[in-house]
């Protein structure tokens, strides 16, 4: 039986839909969506095949198809016309890049400090590791004291090593860690002072913050290294490294204060009022209610200022401190390893070290931001 409303012949088969999965479809969507996209893709592709092989050839050692001289090579290989980066030079001078002029027989002391720092820092950073409070006290209070006596020596029969002999990555890490340790409390206090209702305190904090934020770090370092000795009573000498530390700390605390202020201002007024109505004193309401929320808001900003601080430590080389960059710079005029690619290899190495630290910090901040996100975001 047939009905008038039923078809009797099959509908013609439709064309197969355009494939929306698989590499070809992906390329169509992401690389060749429009004619201009196609042109850009072609241009970018041409640029990449022009740029990448020479860079790879320069960096990669000959074992994996490049021209670079692997660690263990000789300076003669580096001096060849066709030679790429001279990694042999880096590995030969590695201890200078890490410890500076620290006496080689005492290398175990910085090594212990590095190991101790890593041992205390890793469980502190990893979430869900117990004993956070003990760990934090150890890291922020005990560790700096032990490190100072270990590195400086002069106690327990360890020969004294004056700070003039410290150098390399060690000094870079010391300056940035001390800068971070000291600028957090200072920055928080300054931010609270700037938000305060007491006019004198507020004015002082604003003046302090705006002055340091307005001038370049290099002038602050010059000031610290030239004027700090003038400010001290006669006969008191300030260690060169300490001067740089003071400069870096003042500078970065001003930046941190502005970041924290952003967090304080982002909190709704109700939080302040709720804390007051519970009868909490100023410091209690700040410590228990306001700061935990405000600091959480500005974790990315805080980490960004740490990254900036870490990069800025390279400026202490201008006032004559042998940080990582300065050791690399000094070693690049080393006659024993002089070759056409000596300087550029040193900069590549230093750049890579700085990059690893900064990139790790920024990734960690992204991770923490996600972890602490309690879903208040729109």
């Amino acid at each position: 039986m047939t009905y008038s409303y039923t078809r009797e012949e099959m509908v013609d088969a439709r064309e197969a839909p355009v494939n929306t999965s698989g590499p070809l479809a992906w390329a169509r969507r992401n690389l060749f969506a429009t004619p201009s996209d196609a042109l850009l893709t072609i241009l970018a592709f041409i640029f990449l095949i022009w740029a990448i092989p020479p860079i790879y050839g320069f960096i990669a050692p000959d074992a994996i198809g490049g021209n670079a001289v692997a660690p263990g090579g000789t300076v003669e290989e580096c001096r060849l016309e066709s030679a790429g980066a001279c990694w042999a030079y880096i590995s030969a001078r590695m201890s200078f890049f890490i410890y500076g002029f620290y006496p080689p027989e005492e290398y175990w002391r910085p090594n212990v400090v590095f190991a101790l720092g890593a041992l205390l820092l890793l469980p502190l950073l990893a979430p869900s590791v117990p004993f956070k409070r003990t760990n934090a006290v150890l890291f922020f209070v005990v560790f700096p004291i032990i490190s100072f006596y270990l590195l400086n020596g002069g106690v327990l029969g360890m020969p004294a090593v004056p700070t003039e002999q410290w150098g390399g990555l060690m000094v870079t890490l010391i300056i940035s860690l001390v800068g971070i340790f000291c600028s957090i409390p200072l920055g928080i206090l300054l931010a609270l002072g700037r938000q305060s209702s007491l006019p004198i305190i507020k004015t002082l904090c604003i003046m302090f913050i705006e002055l340091w934020r307005a001038v370049p770090l290099i002038t602050v370092l010059f000031m610290a290294s030239i004027m700090l000795p003038l400010f001290m009573p006669q006969g008191v000498t300030v260690d060169k490294l300490l001067r740089a530390l003071v400069g870096v700390t003042l500078f970065s605390s001003a930046y941190l204060a502005e970041v924290v202020r952003g967090g304080l201002q982002a909190l709704p007024r109700g939080q302040y009022e709720a804390a007051q109505s519970l009868g909490l004193s100023y410091w209690k309401s700040m410590g228990f209610i306001i700061l935990p929320q405000a600091l959480k808001h500005v974790i990315p900003g805080i980490v960004n200022s740490f990254i900036a601080l870490f990069k800025d430590t390279s400026l202490v080389s201008i006032v004559g401190i042998f940080d990582l960059l300065n050791t690399v710079q000094a070693a690049s005029s080393d006659i024993d390893w002089s070759s056409p690619t000596q300087a550029i290899t040193g900069y590549l190495f230093a750049g890579f070290v700085f990059w690893i630290f900064c990139f790790a910090m920024s990734r960690y901040s992204v991770f923490m931001e996600r972890r602490l996100d309690t879903g208040h975001k729109r």
Binding site: N30, T34, L39, L48, I218, F231, M232, S317, A343
Partner: protein, 510 residues
């Protein structure tokens, strides 16, 4: 009763628990501590200076400096005063900051938009650039450009020759020096006038269109004329290139002229797009083949030809798929103001017989004579500052564009605006409100970072004043105070501008 008494009685607290009195006490204590601290510092400094037999005061500014500066914008020699040295340093700082800001803005905006591109490859390249450059200290990058790149350039006799008679060697970049004659002034005046005229025409056309829905008749005719001229010019160029590549065509007499006229006539009909695509194809082919030959000299010619074909095919495809509407409807016809901008000064240049000669750098026995020599310190500083700051500007631009809510884009789409118009008319104006404040502080950062030029020997403020002048005079406090005051002033000016701008563009909320 007793309870009521208890409620109405003033709270009995010790006076030091009263918040007002407590605040006053705290502030007095802090103020006293700060005053005592400064008094202690000043006392110590006075004693130290007295012990070192040093005087204070700003009279040193009017003593002769006795040192030379390698790169100055104003005349300066050993007999100049210290305040002139200060001025030289300040001008050099402002020069490098201005150049750096110009290039960093362009590069930063391109990268910021590229990071959001729907093209996967472009977005990845921009991301890698930003993540690499942001995380490496600027000083290291400056050292890299200065010591590893510019100082590693060949000696003067083996200089690399770049296009346009520009040379690059250990001593920097040497470019031709323009030598305008007196008639050139007329051309410059004509250029300024035509800029005003072009802006006037654009505004008039847009206002008339907003009122009536059409561009005024003169603008339409002018645009058609401008299109004709532009097509004629480009067509002639393309046809002569074609005649170069294909020898058979060059036997036809006046082939370029015939081709150009043909293309121009086609551009008046509804096949205008095909004419443009042909021109675009030929021009891209020539450029791409030239570039690819330079970049991949080791590849066989057939592959280079294929690559050029790919690129020029894509360009022709874009032009064919482009706006089908006549140039006088839809988006604004750009060719008319362009014709005014280029045509009028060009006409004056031709009529007045002005000539713009260039003093070309010539390699002599030991160095180049003629031309302008850009010292490697300046070049390295501009390179470093531009590349570093552009990464940060790119992030500001990206977050600014992302801050415009998706609803705005969707609303613009539902009004029927095309992708480019959505960006230009709806997204970018709103994104600028978010971008400008961080952008200004990046400009300030760039200016402050230019002080790192001191590390590679560029004679800017910190180098000339806090370095040489301070070392020679020993007036540490005065010199450092002046230098900091300069940066403080720049910073305050910037924040004043920012406040003014924020007040102007702030959203008017309900």
């Amino acid at each position: 009763m007793a309870a009521q008494d208890h409620l109405s009685a003033p709270p009995r607290t010790a006076f030091y628990n009263d918040p007002v009195i407590r605040g006053i006490i705290y502030q007095v204590l802090v103020a006293l501590a700060v005053i005592a601290f400064f008094a202690w510092i000043i006392l110590n400094t006075a004693q130290n200076l007295a012990a070192q037999n040093k005087s204070t005061g700003f009279d040193f500014l009017f003593q002769t400096s006795g040192f030379g500066i390698s790169f100055t914008l104003i005349p300066f020699d050993r007999s100049s005063y210290y305040w002139e040295a200060f001025l030289v340093g300040l001008l050099n700082t402002l020069l490098v900051a201005a150049i750096g800001i110009f290039f960093a803005t362009i590069l930063g905006f391109v990268l910021g938009v590229a990071r959001l591109s729907s093209n996967w490859l472009i977005a990845r390249i921009a991301t890698v650039y930003v993540e690499v450059i942001r995380n490496i200290p600027l000083l290291l990058q400056l050292f890299f450009w200065y010591f590893a790149v510019l100082k590693a350039m060949p000696a003067v006799r083996q200089s690399y020759e770049l296009p346009l008679n520009t040379f690059i060697n250990q001593r920097g970049i040497i470019v031709p020096r323009p030598l305008p004659d007196s008639e050139m002034n007329l051309v410059v005046v004509a250029l300024l006038l035509s800029i005003v005229a072009a802006i006037g025409v654009v505004r008039w056309a847009l206002t008339a269109r907003a009122k009536t829905g059409h561009y005024p008749q003169p603008v339409i005719w002018g645009t058609l004329f401008a299109n004709l001229l532009v097509t004629l010019g480009f067509g002639y160029f393309a046809a002569s290139l074609l005649a170069d590549i294909v020898p058979a065509l060059s036997s036809i007499p006046a082939f370029p002229l015939i081709g150009a006229v043909l293309l121009a006539v086609v551009s008046l009909t509804r096949f205008a797009r095909f004419g443009r695509a042909v021109i675009g194809f030929i021009l891209t082919w020539a450029i791409a083949a030239f570039l690819l030959e330079g970049m991949f000299a080791f590849l066989p010619p057939i592959i280079i030809a294929l690559g050029a074909l790919l690129a020029s095919g894509a360009v022709a495809w874009i032009m064919l798929a482009g706006d089908a509407r006549p140039a006088t409807e839809g988006k604004f016809p750009l060719s008319l103001p362009l014709l005014i901008l280029i045509g009028v000064p060009g006409l004056v240049y031709w009529l007045s017989g002005a000539s713009l000669a260039f003093e070309l750098p010539v390699l002599e026995r030991f160095n180049f004579s003629g031309g302008i020599q850009l010292v490697p310190e300046l070049v390295a500083l501009v390179f470093g500052l531009t590349i570093y700051t552009a990464a940060f500007i790119a992030e500001n631009v990206r977050s600014g564009i992302q801050a415009v809510s998706k609803g705005q884009t969707e609303a613009a789409a539902s009004l029927g605006l095309r992708e480019a118009d959505r960006l230009r008319l709806v997204v970018i104006p709103q994104a600028m409100r978010v971008i400008i404040p961080p952008l200004t502080s990046q400009y300030l950062n760039l200016t402050k970072n230019s002080s790192l030029g001191a590390a590679i020997g560029y004679p800017e403020l910190v180098n000339v004043f806090m370095g040489t002048t301070l070392n020679q005079t020993g007036k540490a406090i005065e010199v450092i105070a002046i230098t900091m005051a300069v940066y403080l002033t720049l910073s305050l000016l910037t924040s004043t501008f920012m406040n003014w701008y924020n007040g102007r563009v702030a959203l008017v909320e309900r």
